[in-house]
């Protein structure tokens, strides 16, 4: 086993979600989508949110990003309540073809938020080059999104997000629309981004394997009205490997546990009502 790296970071949380609830519509009869969700994310962690389809994963992520005002509860980024879009946050959407601007080249797409923030040209140039190189798109700067494959477009979206040097990177099922092999490359890209840029990442996925592979902690959500069923610590070291890590026996245990939570028939069982299961590696 590779050298153990502690995945427990300094104690102050970067992101705290407290009692987050959201209902669609108004009035007491309005259907509740999110039901008192709470968790935290510490610096340099990768935390994933997994749940059955139809649970409010995207609603949750949109609430955290400030795109949506939740009807109850609060989100704290660096101890500051989130109202509107906070600075220090970037997002990668699932539908890259509708998130990257088709009339801008890749370079321009990455540059766009930087220019809007008023950065000097030299600084922007440095960051663009650095981020495009980090995601493996060097040489494709002048191309338009439609000229690139799905995986490459998503890389461009990731480059755009990290160029802003965010404290927190949100990802909404970023790899759902790409094929399996590309997905593996992109997953490793996320790990390298965390390592290279010291980034904190919160991402949504429906792919349990992916969540276990990437995360330091997996937050398992329930069916709607969504609550946190469990938070599963993943104690693999930060250096991971598609084949080695995935074939580790612990991987299977974690996966089975999460899968059983997600598939569990009947009402959602809150985390507070059951023992949190943590698996350790020695």
């Amino acid at each position: 086993m590779s050298a153990q790296e502690s995945s427990v970071e300094p104690l102050r949380a970067l992101l705290r979600v407290e009692n987050l609830s959201h209902a669609y519509g108004r009035g007491p009869q309005a259907p509740l989508i999110l039901d008192r969700i709470g968790f935290e994310v510490r610096r340099r962690q990768i935390v994933s949110l997994v749940g059955p389809s139809g649970c409010g994963k995207t609603t949750l992520l949109y609430s955290i990003s400030g795109l949506l005002q939740p009807t109850d509860g609060q989100v704290l980024l660096e101890d500051t309540p989130v109202r509107g879009i906070p600075p220090g946050l970037a997002m990668v959407f699932q539908d890259y073809s509708r998130s990257l601007y088709p009339w801008m080249s890749i370079e321009r797409n990455v540059d766009f938020p930087l220019a809007a923030a008023g950065l000097a040209r030299g600084e922007r140039r440095t960051r663009i080059d650095e981020c495009l190189e980090a995601v493996g798109l060097r040489g494709h700067e002048a191309k338009y999104p439609w000229q690139l494959s799905g995986g490459m477009q998503q890389r461009a979206a990731i480059a755009r997000a990290i160029a802003c040097r965010p404290d927190l990177l949100l990802m909404d099922e970023p790899f759902a629309s790409v094929d399996a092999q590309t997905r593996e490359d992109l997953e490793d890209l996320v790990l390298s981004v965390r390592k290279r840029f010291d980034m904190t990442i919160l991402f949504i996925t429906h792919d349990i394997d992916e969540s276990v592979y990437l995360s330091d902690r997996v937050i398992v959500l329930s069916k709607s009205p969504t609550c946190v069923q469990d938070q599963v610590e993943v104690r693999f070291p930060h250096e991971r490997d598609q084949i080695g890590t995935r074939s580790h026996p612990e991987f299977g245990v974690l996966r089975a546990h999460i899968a059983s939570l997600i598939r569990g028939a009947g009402a959602a069982v809150r985390q507070t009502e059951r023992q949190a299961v943590t698996a350790g590696i020695s």
Partner: protein, 308 residues
Amino acid sequence: MTEASALRAAMPAASHPGAAVDAGAPGERAGTGAAGRGKAAKTRLPAVTNRRHGRTRRIVGVVLVLALAEYLTRSGLTDPQYVPHVSTVLKRMVELCVDADFLRQTLDTVQAWLLGLALSVVAGVALGFVIGSNRFLDRSFRALFDFIRPIPSVALIPLGMLVLGQGLSLKLALVLYAAMWPILYNIVSAIRAIDRVQHDTARVFRIGRLQRFVHVFLPSTLPHLATGIRVASPIALVLAISVEMLGGSRTGLGVWILDANTGAGRADLVFAGTAIAGLLGALSNWALAATERRLLPWHPAWRTGAER
């Protein structure tokens, strides 16, 4: 992802897919109903409420605009002799609707309009099929059409008058010339757009040629034809009136307006007659759009087959 798309619809910057707007798009955004139904499948107040709100807003909007116009015309900015009060114009419009002479003239115009439209449908469909079924012909004739089509139909009126004289045949000829194009182009694009997959599916299931024609081919082309007619209709009306107003006819709504202008110099009648002409066009647009929606509800709200 339904949830995500429902979310997007909820966000402040959300928008509805606009109806493909061009020379004759319908008054109502054809997209609202269908898109509303399709998108937010799980959540949201149903699209019905949105449409009802839309209707009230439309009516309120019209009232507000009329009120504003009334205020402007009364404010002294314009001379009431040349720009009559909106209320006067509205009154005249109502009066005209029961005026026998006006109605007779208008009927003349409507006759030429509908007859000409029918002719252009026949011509447009026929030519469209011939040209559309052959890629080579299509590309070739494009060049020719690119020269002919831009010729303003009104420019042909003086010539037409010398050749055909005043009257219905002149009107029909010009309406045919002008209104044929949208239909032709739409038929051609319909043929180009026939979904190969639908066609091949039918063939795999051994559906015979006639059946294929009726059940696959026609339904695919009908929406495009409907759009073409919807676009051509106001063009036809405008041409008929134009012919009348430029000396090409002795009867018709256009002639009536001309007389009101030159003869009695009654600006209120001119405005009223013009407004009615505009209403006729707008109403035909709206009526055709409504018929389309009724008969072809399965056609996607994104109607990119609209003519350019």
